[in-house]
Amino acid sequence: MAQLTLVQAINQALDHEMARDDRVIILGEDVGANGGVFRVTEGLAARHGAHRCQNTPLDESGIIGAAVGLAIAGMRPIPEIQFEGFLGPAYDQIANHAGRMRPRTRGAITVPLVVRVPVGGAIHAPEMHSDSPEAIYAHSKGLKVVMPSTPYDAKGLLLSAIRDPDPVVFFEPKRLYRAFREEVPEDDYEVPIGEGKVVSEGDDLTIVTWGAPVFQCLEAMDEAPEDVSVELIDLRTMWPIDVDIIAQSVEKTGRCIVVHEAPKTAGLGAEVSSLVQERCFLHLEAPVQRVTGFDTTMPYYKLELDYLPEAERIGAAIMETLAY
């Protein structure tokens, strides 16, 4: 088995599915010969033809709107948006068209597409290149929203997403693109959408997170006193949320922290916190805590690590929640 980075694992999944299914077509800015700004589509135009890994004009709404049309006509488009900060112009096409087409036609027209978008901060990028808008898409109906944090999950989730008969927004944490390697099978396998994963078992406290902060949580857990036993859940899918995996854990631990890069207010931490009190009210030993980005705009990169939920802040929340 090859040791792959997140970028390589996604590239392998795209390559695999393009070879398997000739309806699959990639479209986006610079995705052709250049392989995309993060090189995720590197080599795909050469292997599968430029027409299947198509450079498009510089127009995010155009990319998604054209992808909606491709999907209506029976293709399996995978549009790439270069950074989550540029999703704004495409929001209408994603939420009001991709997400609504099946319900508004009572299933007569469907839009199977996967919007691939790099997400999150900590790579010293220019402004509007470091946001975390996953809650916006989880709140917009008719969409599934996923965010893998490992190369293995990225490949399996992407294959599930491409084969899903409905639109999926696939967020790729750019902080993790080349952060580490992991064994990724060359075979075909799927990681189901809607299923979280227990990254590390524990008894005293549950941390629910997704994307890059999985690793800040692990760092905080490493730095915590040895007798502190934390269960870490990587949610992997933002909608539909795997509430069972959260509830089973919190019923055991009685304490819960949610960690995400997005701002606190109306972030998905609020949703998880609400689900926990609905499902685990009498099991709770402490209020659910949120360790998140602040309710500010994402700062320029000099301050981005002060904004993001780094290990120190997570560690403090662990100790405070345990001491409650």
């Binding site: 127009d59 709107g65 009001n96 319900p103 036609t105 008969p165 539909p240």
Partner: protein, 374 residues
């Protein structure tokens, strides 16, 4: 240092049948048979009757807001005849109902849509259409994408998308045109320039002399036609389709017409529109000149008109009946078409028709209930 003209462009205007019923024999030679013109005239008359009936349904509280198509029928039927039913795609706005009917959409669908029922958008298998599009211009990108798929699969087929003069101000108009021309996909962009975007006249919408010239910037063949002239509309669309399926890429057509009605039944155009302007355009009504043409060909008379009016009345009455007699939707319908498979959260919401969770899970026994039990 030279200073040369590097690009020059002109816009052609095409009219074959004018408002007096005068027909240009040279331009119109062998274009449409009398049978075809009769067919289009019938479709326009039925469409007009449908439109007036829909208006009355709204006024009598039997239907919600409705945008009348009145006056724009020639654009719809002339272009629809040039497209191949069952092969080509139509990606409409909401003022070309007659084109949709000609390509197989059941007529009660549009009424159902405006009656607040998604089943009006449930396009039957084999009918290559998307539902009428309410947000302006956004659907044009879908047309480009569908045309792209046709090109990728090497199908001998084409897409036509309709939109108004106001839509040409939208960003997605630009995106759709630019993508289509850059990718050279078989798509026809048909602008129904009806002079008004709700209350905003064309000259407040754009500073360009014509709508058609906008296509030049995208490198797309373009023409302006008399949109109340079925011959001109048919000819321009037929040429554009031939170009598209022959690999010549997209084309643009500006069909100059007029919205004889209000924007919708929720609008009152008397607030902003000069009655003299309306009166002038009423004389250019496509139904009037098409009938004059057919009469000059001795292919139409009062007797035929009476029979057609009767037939239109009967058809539309059956369609209204079909729309009104459909079973009431059930609340679970909201959930059933959200996804191919229902996620657990939606399954619970569907089953209980509640979003509050207490009482749904027998495992949830609160402190009060525990005390009462003990």
């Amino acid at each position: 240092m030279p200073r040369n003209t590097v690009y020059e462009a002109t816009i052609d205007y095409l009219q074959i049948l004018d408002e007096e019923g005068n027909f240009d024999r040279k331009l119109g030679k062998d274009l449409l048979s009398d049978e075809q013109v009769v067919h289009l005239y019938e479709q326009m008359v039925i469409g007009r009757h449908y439109d007036e009936t829909a208006f009355k349904l709204q006024r009598s509280g039997r239907m919600g807001t409705y945008p009348q198509n009145k006056g724009q029928e020639a654009n719809a039927v002339g272009s629809a005849l040039a497209m191949v039913k069952g092969t080509d795609w139509i990606v409409p706005c909401y003022r070309e109902n007659a084109a949709l009917f000609m390509h197989g959409l059941p007529m009660h669908s549009i009424l159902l849509h405006w009656m607040g029922d998604e089943r009006g958008n449930q396009i039957p298998e084999g009918v290559n259409q998307t539902p009428i599009a309410i947000p302006i211009g956004t659907h044009m990108l879908h047309a480009t994408g569908i045309a792209w798929a046709l090109k990728l699969r090497g199908e001998q087929a084409c897409v036509i998308t309709y939109f108004g003069d106001g839509a040409t101000s939208e960003g997605d108009f630009h995106g759709a045109m630019n993508f289509a021309a850059t990718l050279q996909v078989p798509c026809i962009f048909f602008c129904q320039n009806n002079q008004w975007a709700i209350s905003v006249p064309r000259e407040e919408q754009m500073a360009s002399e014509t709508v058609a010239q906008k296509a030049i910037a995208y490198g797309m063949p373009t023409i302006q036609v008399d949109g109340n002239d079925i011959f001109a509309v048919y000819k321009a669309t037929k040429d554009a389709r031939e170009r598209a399926v022959g690999g010549g890429g997209p084309s643009f057509i500006e069909g100059v017409t007029y919205r004889l009605g209000d924007h919708t039944t929720a609008d009152d155009a008397r607030r902003y529109r000069d009655p003299a302007e309306l009166a002038a355009w009423e004389g250019k009504d496509p139904l009037i000149r098409t009938r004059l043409y057919l009469e000059s060909r001795r292919a139409w008379d009062d007797k035929k008109q009476i029979a057609l009016d009767e037939q239109a009345k009967k058809i539309v009455s059956e369609v209204v009946h079909a729309a009104e007699e459909i079973d009431e939707p059930t609340p679970s319908d909201m959930f059933d078409s959200m996804f191919a498979g229902l996620p657990e959260e939606l399954r619970v919401q569907r089953e209980t028709l509640r979003t509050s969770s207490l009482g749904q899970n027998p495992g949830q026994v609160g402190l009060r209930a525990q005390a009462e039990r003990a």
